[in-house]
């Protein structure tokens, strides 16, 4: 079986030749560890008087942004291939640089949805770009934002389609690119407004919240169409619905405000003959039955530090959901020993591998996920993951 058959077979809950392994590689830090090449670090340029001005101008042009973004993900794909993964995710984002006195560098990225992303470099000198704040804390600001940004939303969908297509065209004969349509409807709804404000609005102005969700749902469905137009065969959707000890919001409220949207997402993906896997961090046992009900095909993450136990998940959902992930990124894939990684892979395979329906992967990505540990993870999967599984 090749990597593609392996992934598709397991997603159909049949046993492939061996447990497939998926990379969640995107962080420049991990990429530079594997390839020896550093990703473009624009933070270094921004500080320089003349070069900085030129860099800011360049980053805000569509062609340069897309080129830089694609370049980083192409390196992530190369790294995943080198490490022996069967698949890797690919995520597109559209951001513009703005003077932003409230940010640490005085300059920050603003995305199309209304989020601020702080740029920085970690202690290894690699670029990091992370969500930090909301730009539309009130109803009026949100309405004004979406009115003003209509052309940007079209651009976003167009760029994302092109980005995923270019990656799929270039890499799908060597690895399976999994198109990650992220952030999802829940995150796009709350992160432009801020969690605290959004929560207040859920209780005090539910009609506005419904409007936000309807807007984000339509945009997300367009975005998903674009990702699928690129040719990718498996789609990930991303929304963190959980935190360490349980749901981020009462599950009944999530179902009330977002359930219909998620159903539409699953229907759309299925109407195009594809599978939909849902990413959510945190402790999410209470959502598993909803995921099945909404029509999802699988879930990715199952964070062990949030008490997500693969065997328990499998017991709860049976083979109604494919499972992806679960290898810890707090200790195991950061500084775990070879023996620990090997044991964790065996445990995961034993818990979720029988009957197919399991793809081994890290629970998440962050800059300190160590490439050597990822390599051990792949090797252990090859060693212990051959079907029929032993003991």
């Amino acid at each position: 079986m090749n990597f593609k058959e392996r992934i598709l077979t397991t997603l159909n809950h049949e046993e492939p030749d061996q447990i497939p392994v998926m990379g969640l590689i995107m962080d420049p830090s991990t990429v530079s560890q594997v390839t020896g090449k550093s990703a473009t670090n624009i933070v270094n340029f921004l500080d320089k008087p003349v070069l900085g001005k030129v860099a800011k101008g360049l980053v805000n042009t569509n062609w340069f942004w897309n080129r830089m973004y694609y370049g980083n993900f192409a390196l992530a794909m190369e790294s995943s291939i080198q490490l022996g993964f069967d698949a890797n995710w690919s995520i597109y984002a559209l951001m513009k640089l703005y003077e932003d006195p409230a940010s640490t560098l005085g300059t920050a990225m603003h995305d199309a949805y209304g989020r601020v992303w702080e740029m920085g470099t970690n202690d290894r000198g690699d670029l990091s770009v992370d969500y930090s704040r909301a730009l539309c804390p009130t109803e009026a600001e949100w309405e004004a934002w979406v009115d003003a940004k209509a052309p940007l939303f079209d651009q976003l969908v167009k760029n994302a389609t092109g980005f995923h297509k270019k990656l799929a065209d270039k890499y799908s004969h060597r690895i399976m690119p999994i198109g990650y349509a992220a952030p999802g409807i829940f995150e796009n709804s709350w992160q432009a407004i801020g969690f605290v404000n959004f929560t207040k609005l859920v209780y005090e102005n539910p009609e506005f919240v419904k409007r936000v969700v309807a807007f984000q749902t339509d945009l997300y469905l367009r975005y998903l169409e674009g990702v699928m137009d690129s040719g990718v065969e498996v789609v990930l959707g991303g929304d963190d619905l959980g935190q360490k000890t349980g749901p981020l919001m009462r599950p009944a409220l999530i179902d009330k405000f977002f359930g219909e949207s998620y159903r539409r997402v699953a229907e759309l993906v299925h109407s195009r003959g594809r599978k939909f896997i849902f990413h959510s961090c945190g402790k999410i046992y209470q959502f598993l039955d909803m995921f099945i009900d909404w029509g999802f095909d699988g879930i990715i993450t199952m964070e062990p530090t949030a008490d997500m136990d693969l065997a328990r998940v499998r017991e709860q959902v049976g083979h109604k959901l494919a499972l992806v992930g679960n290898l810890d990124v707090s200790h195991l894939l950061v500084r775990g020993s070879h023996k620990e990684v090997d044991q964790a892979v065996r445990d995961a395979i034993r818990a979720a591998g029988p009957g197919g329906g399991y793809i081994l992967s890290a629970a998440h990505s962050h800059p300190y996920v160590d490439a050597t540990r990822l390599q051990w993870m792949v090797e252990a999967a090859h060693e212990h993951g051959r079907y029929p599984l032993q003991g």
Binding site: T104, G120, S128, S132, F195, T199, T245, P251, Y368
Partner: protein, 215 residues
């Protein structure tokens, strides 16, 4: 404030009935009666204890924790002109921030709401806070406690750096340090020199309250 009014205030908060809570505290605020305001704070703090328990037991969810905290915050704002009478000591000052490299703020903000509602003056340094900024704020505000939040393993190494800097500046001895967040464990927290680890905001508030009252 009568026992009945205190009960009404507590119930309103536990029903997430913001209008009900604000009605009671507004009435209290107009009397400018310090004793009544203190009883209102007691009722709010009591309700938040119940909220915290419900959250810990999985009966309530994060949205309810956040929203009850927000209602409590607004109630405290109404009462603060009476409570801030200079002659009255508050619980003291707490400096809080999320460690450098980490931009997660939900847990920190919930802790701030609970600490504020318990009568603390909170200096919020925000997220991605450098070692220097933590130390500078401690020197400037002389807090009862310093709170550090951390959800990312890669950022956790920043906590001992903050503590080390406070030692070097000679202010560690006079200060209690509390840490919390998904990346941390009690073992790690104590090993790196914090005085306490808070698994949640309610426990965290209880800990700093005990420190403040023990002073």
């Amino acid at each position: 404030m009568s026992a009945q009014e205190m009960e009404k205030l507590k119930e309103a908060l536990l029903d997430l009935n913001k209008a009900g809570v604000l009605e009671v505290v507004s009435a209290t605020a107009t009397t400018a009666d310090l004793q009544a305001a203190k009883l209102a704070v007691e009722a709010i703090a009591g309700a938040l204890q119940v909220v915290g328990k419900r959250f810990q037991e999985g009966e309530w969810f994060l949205d309810e924790l956040v929203y009850s905290g927000e209602i409590a915050k607004q109630a405290m704002e109404k009462l603060s002109p009476i409570l801030c009478d200079e002659t009255q000591p508050t619980q003291g000052c707490v400096v809080i921030g999320t460690v450098f490299g980490d931009l997660h703020d939900l847990g920190k903000d919930i802790f701030i709401n609970f600490a504020t509602s318990a009568g603390f003056k909170v200096i919020d340094l925000g997220v991605n806070v450098s070692v220097e900024a933590f130390t500078k704020a401690v020197l400037e505000h002389q807090p009862v406690a310093l709170g550090i939040s951390c959800l990312l393993t890669p950022a956790a190494g920043g906590i001992p750096q903050v503590i080390q800097d406070l030692v070097e500046k000679g202010v560690r001895e006079s200060l209690k340090i509390i840490v919390g967040g998904a990346a941390l464990t009690e073992k790690f927290s104590l090993e790196v020199g914090a005085d306490a680890f808070a698994p949640d905001a309610v426990t965290g508030t209880d800990i700093i309250r005990a420190w403040s009252e023990g002073q």
